[in-house]
Structure formats: C-alpha cells, structure tokens
Amino acid sequence: MREVSEPDTSTLDVNGFATRVWRKGKGPKIGFLAGYGGLPRWVPFLDRLAEKRTVIVPSLPGLPGGDRGHTVLDSHLDWVLAARDIIDKAGLAGADLVGSSIGGSFAAEVAAIWPDKVERLALIAPFGLFDANDPATDPWAQKQDDIAGLMTAQPETYRKLKEMPPGANSIEWPIEQTRAAEAAARIFWPLGNTRLERRLPLIKAPTLILWGEHDRLLPRSYARTIAEAIAAPTEVRVIAGAGHLAELDKPEETAAAILDFMR
C-alpha cells in the first residue's frame, strides 16, 4: 500500500462554527463530502484522488472537524443551505463533487437545487431514500460492536478509522465519534428518507453512482432508483469486495472509478 501523507488544513465559518477543510494535490478541483461517521483522520482514498486532482474535503456539521454545527440545523432546508455554504466557502462551486453515504445525499441535493454548483457528480451509496419493500438497515439501532461491520466489508477498516490516535484527548475523542452518529441522526432519523428522490430529476451534472458489492446498510436496488430518477447521463458501477463506505474498503478501485468518470 502506498503511504498516506497529511493535507493542508484550514477552517471556514459555517453558522458560527469553525469547520475544517483539507486540501491536497494539484490540478482541477474535486470536492469530497464524507460518509457516516465522517473522517476523524485523512484516508488513502483521498491520496489517490490527490495524485491527479486538487482534492478539497470540507467537514459537514457535527461530523469530525465540523464542531457542533449540527445543533443549529433543525429543518432539511437548514441542512441543505449549510451544505451550499460549505461548498461555496471551500471554493468548490462549479467543481466536480464526490459524496459518500451521508455526504452523498448533500452532494446530490446541492447538484439538484443549484445545478451550476456541480460540474460532474459521483455518489457513493448516498442516504436520502427509503423503500419499504427493500428497507435500509437501521444504523442507530445496533450493538456498538456491530457498527464497523455495517459500515465496511472489513470491520477492521472502519475500526482503524475510528481508533483513537496517540496523544488525542481520551475524553473528547469518543464524544466526537458519537457526535458524528448524532449529526447523521439529526437529519436522517428514523428511516434515512429525506425525499431526495423528488429532487433527483433536477440534477444536470453527469452522475456516477457507486455501490459497494457488500453494502449491508443501503440496498443496491437504490442505485437503480437513483439512476432512473436523474435526467442527466448516469452510470452505475459496483465496487467489488466493498461495503457501505466503499472508499474506505477499496480506496484504489473507488478513486480509479471516479477519476475515470471525471477524466
């Protein structure tokens, strides 16, 4: 495996909360909005993108690096406006945008409501839909030990992401991880359904839809639903051997699929 190196870090203000932005690489910009649990540390997937592109990774409210920004967001409109604000302030307006899981839902919302903000779109198993005939798993009603296996095909992958690094604050670190689950619950409780399906037809950007072969959280049938709802050209690809957060399980393959689509 190639080595992981640190990005440049800056902060921007979102509704009064300091929000972390990572930046690394050269070339045309590409944004990434993280999935369930957020990114408490830099991951190899982002390095793969940074080899070809300037990758910009703003945190979402309440996710690691997003402080307690979720606490002032009460309605879906509040959330979507915060996402737009983040895209604008991170300098990502008009760039290519990738979103995974929770972040995928926000990437899709921004692309639908403000089509000029997104050039090309990649969605990795986005939240926002629910099908009673093929229900998503409930991520908030799980034994603590079962979460990792729900998020990634190899539970170790998610556990390592969430493992406390040496020197971290041993009280604040676990609280920050719980906060990430709370932020997701704040917008997606209880079913994950924000009626995103109604807005998908507004998306003008060509869209790549990626799904982990072993996604135990969101059914793969949702990929087809999403592809059929988007009026712009779409492509669906399944990442072999990956779970819900495909970019963590299979960073090379996931990054390659995205870079190929956005060539």
């Binding site: 307690r68 979720h70 606490t71 009460d74 908030w140 009603a141 799980q142 034994k143 603590q144 041993s170 009280i171 676990p174 609280i175 719980t178 906060r179 689950a181 709370e182 932020a183 997701a184 619950a185 704040r186 409780w189 209880p190």
Partner: protein, 432 residues
C-alpha cells in the same frame, strides 16, 4: 414521609422461554404474545389493585407512560388516571408522567392534565419525563438529537398554557400555534405540582432545582445501587444553595412484605424473577440512540470511569452511567442475586421498615414510590402486599421527615366542595 403506590402494568403472561426465544420486551416485542382478551382482565385487575391501594391509605397512586412495552401497558397513563379519578376520593393521582416531546401539539398534555385535575378535584401530580430511548426515539420515532430541546420547549409551552390568562401565540423553535387557550384549566394554582422523573443527569438536576420541581429517580435496582446518584443530586443542590428538604426527591423501590421473611420469599420470588428475567429483557440495540445522552453527561460519565480506573476500582453491578438497556443486560435474574444486589426490599414488616428507613435516610428521599405489584405477581398477592404494608410498615415510617414541609404535594378542593360520584355497583348497573 409520603407513600406513593406505583403500578407499571406489566403483561402478566409472557412465556417461560421468553428471554431465550425473544430478543426484547420493548420496541419489537412480538404481537403474537399479546392476547387482548387476557389484557381485558389484566387492566381491570390492575385498576382494582390501584383502587385497593387508595383504599388502604397510600398517599398517592401512580401510573406512567411506556410504548411497545411488554412490562408497561400504559401508552396513555392519562386514560388510567381519569378512570382512577372517578373511583377514588382523597388519594393523590400521580401521573409520572407524559413524555412531553411526543405530543403534537404539546398543549394536548396541558389539556388532558387539566381534565384530570378537574375530574379529581385537584388531586393531580403532573410528571414530565423526557422518556426512555426505547419509548421516545425507537417506538415513537422522535429524533434523538432534538428530543431534549423539544422537551424543554414543550414544557415551556404547557406551563404558559396553564398560567397565562389570555389567548396567546406561541412561536417556538419546534412548535408554532397561533391560538393557545386551553379549556379546561387546572384547579390547582398556579398549576399542579410538577415532578421530573430522571436518572443521573446533572443538567436535569439543575433544571429541576431551578424550576423548584421534585426530581424522581426511577430505578429498578434498589436503594443500595442508587446511593451515588442521590449523593450527586444532593451535592448539586448544595452547590445551588438549595436546602436538603427530602421532599425535593422521589425514589422508586420494589417492595414485598409478608408475615415473615421466608413467607415473603415464598410469595414474591417467582414474580421478582419474572420481572428481572423477562420484563427487563431489552435488546441492547436499543440502548443508545446518538444524541439522547447529552455531551455534558457523556463527558461526566467518561471522566468518572477514568477516575475509577486511576483509583484501581472496578465498578460493581450495572454502571450508573450506562444506558438503561445496557444496564438491563447485566442484571441478576435469580432471586438470590436479586436480593443480594438489593434490587428488591423483601421480608417481614420489621425487616421492611428497617430497610426503608435506611433507604429514606441514606438517599434523603421523602416521596417514596413503592412498586408492590411487579412481574406476574397475582392480584391477590398484590393486594395482600399493599394491605400488610399499609397496616404494619407505613405507620412506623410516616413520621419521618415531619420537620420538613412538602411544598410539592397537590392542593385539592376542600372535601365538602367536591362532587360525590355515586357508589359504583356493577351488578345493579347491568340490571338497569
């Protein structure tokens, strides 16, 4: 000292293999286990038992709210309270309570509590729990990240609805109503006493103190396990400059009294094992919806674990800070463990008096809630328990804390002013 007789209304006929065959008594308990025709008898027996407790002379009878729950058949405690209001005369009626964030609009609670207060002639104690994760977030689908803010806002709205004389508009973060003007209005002025059931959250203690409400620690694990929580509560009261009036605090205790200790064990073992073995069998998946526990309380919990570890201590029994469903996973299920861990107070009248005296003085609690029907305890045994307690235990403990004023007790209409519902004679009614 006040004695409140508390009924959970557990389904009495969960199968013997319930714990092995079913993942949870709560949230997704299977509908096939519920027989409505059996429940008809259970509800009527439960109401009989509460009325019997009132007749025995307990100061209050209590009911509470649970949803999708095999040990709590009261999704609406207000229905039970209104039935009790008609069939009792002087006993306080303690609804502990209505989970405010679940009502839309929350003024529904202001209205229904006002109805009960009117029907009962001002005997209502109004309980406002946040509600358990199982009830509020899973069974009722309320967002755990907004639950507490919704709860506090609903409280403010209910209080205003009770006290404001003019129709007003409420422009809240979660609730907007153009015309708030409840009819009926409560008899008790400015409003019925408000009690807050809760656990070991510092924020709840502070808020209850600031509002001058009673804080009730509703634990199923007995007074020995509750020492740390109540110690923390009184230390916080001291920091806030509040006195140690024991009537600021309530505590719930499972109690079984009989003529002798061995008779008590004969009488209550099966029911206690049913309660701790089947009723408190909750799937740990429902333990911790994120956001339900505030960050301040999480922080306090982690800090105390770190402190204990540094002192080389290992926690004994369920941790105070653990989520309720997590605690329930590590419970003793057999009578020896149940008794040894002090979950239940059982014994002869003398033994029960001594244990409850210790409970009251060590926890400094003046509002004692007694769970004397528990698990599948039969109606006859339940009534015997209540009667014997009222005759042999209550008189010994009643004088405790007489030096303090109980400012949190209902102020009903004078007896001579009150309506006198005709005596209820079912056979005569059927013949008409």
């Amino acid at each position: 000292m006040k004695f409140l007789w508390f009924h959970l209304m557990p389904y009495r006929e969960l199968p013997d293999d319930f714990k092995d065959k079913h993942p949870s008594v709560w949230v997704d308990i299977h509908s096939s286990l519920f027989d409505p025709k059996r429940a008809h008898h259970m509800y009527n027996e439960f109401l009989d038992e509460l009325e019997h407790a009132a007749a025995c002379g307990f100061d209050a009878i209590c009911c509470n709210e649970h949803h999708s729950n095999g040990y709590g058949l009261m999704p609406s405690p207000n229905l039970i309270a209104s039935a009790l209001a008609r069939r009792t005369t002087n006993t306080a009626i303690c609804v502990l309570g209505n989970s405010l964030a679940l009502y839309n609009p929350p003024t529904r609670v202001a209205e229904e509590f006002a109805m009960i207060d009117c029907i009962s002639g001002g005997r209502l104690i109004a309980g406002f729990p946040v509600g358990t994760p199982m009830d509020t977030t899973y069974a009722y689908g309320t967002n755990p990240s907004q639950l507490r803010d919704r709860y506090y806002e609903a409280h403010d709205l209910v209080l205003r609805a009770w006290t404001e004389k003019e129709t007003f508009a409420f422009d809240g973060r979660f609730n907007q109503q153009r015309y708030v003007n409840i009819w009926p209005r409560p008899i008790q002025q400015p409003h019925p006493p408000i009690w807050i059931p809760g656990a070991g959250s510092v924020e709840t203690w502070r808020w209850a103190a600031e509002m001058d409400y009673v804080f009730c620690y509703l634990s199923y694990y007995g007074y020995k396990m509750a020492q740390n929580v109540m110690k923390g509560f009184w230390e916080e009261m001291a920091r806030l400059g509040k006195d140690r009036n024991p009537y600021r605090a309530g505590f719930a205790q499972v109690v079984g009294v009989a003529e002798s200790r061995s008779q008590a064990l004969d009488l209550y073992t099966d029911a206690a094992e049913y309660f701790y073995g089947r009723c408190l069998h909750v799937d740990p998946r429902f333990a911790a919806p994120p956001g339900y526990v505030t960050e301040a309380t999480q922080r306090a919990g982690i800090e105390s674990q770190v402190k204990m570890a540094a002192q080389g201590k290992t926690p004994s029994g369920p941790s105070t800070n653990a989520a309720s469903a997590t605690k329930m996973q590590s419970l003793a299920r057999d009578m020896k463990g149940i008794v040894d861990n002090g979950y239940v107070v059982v014994g002869s009248p003398h033994e029960v008096v001594e244990q409850l005296r210790e409970l009251a003085t060590t926890l400094n609690v003046g509002q004692l809630m007694l769970m004397m029907q528990f698990g599948n305890l039969s109606s006859d045994a339940t009534k015997h328990n209540a009667r014997l307690f009222a005759e042999t235990v209550m008189p010994k403990l009643k004088p405790l804390f007489s030096e303090w004023e109980n400012r949190w007790w209902p102020q009903p209409m004078g007896t001579s002013e009150r309506a006198t519902p005709p005596a209820f004679t079912p056979t005569a009614a059927a013949a008409e």
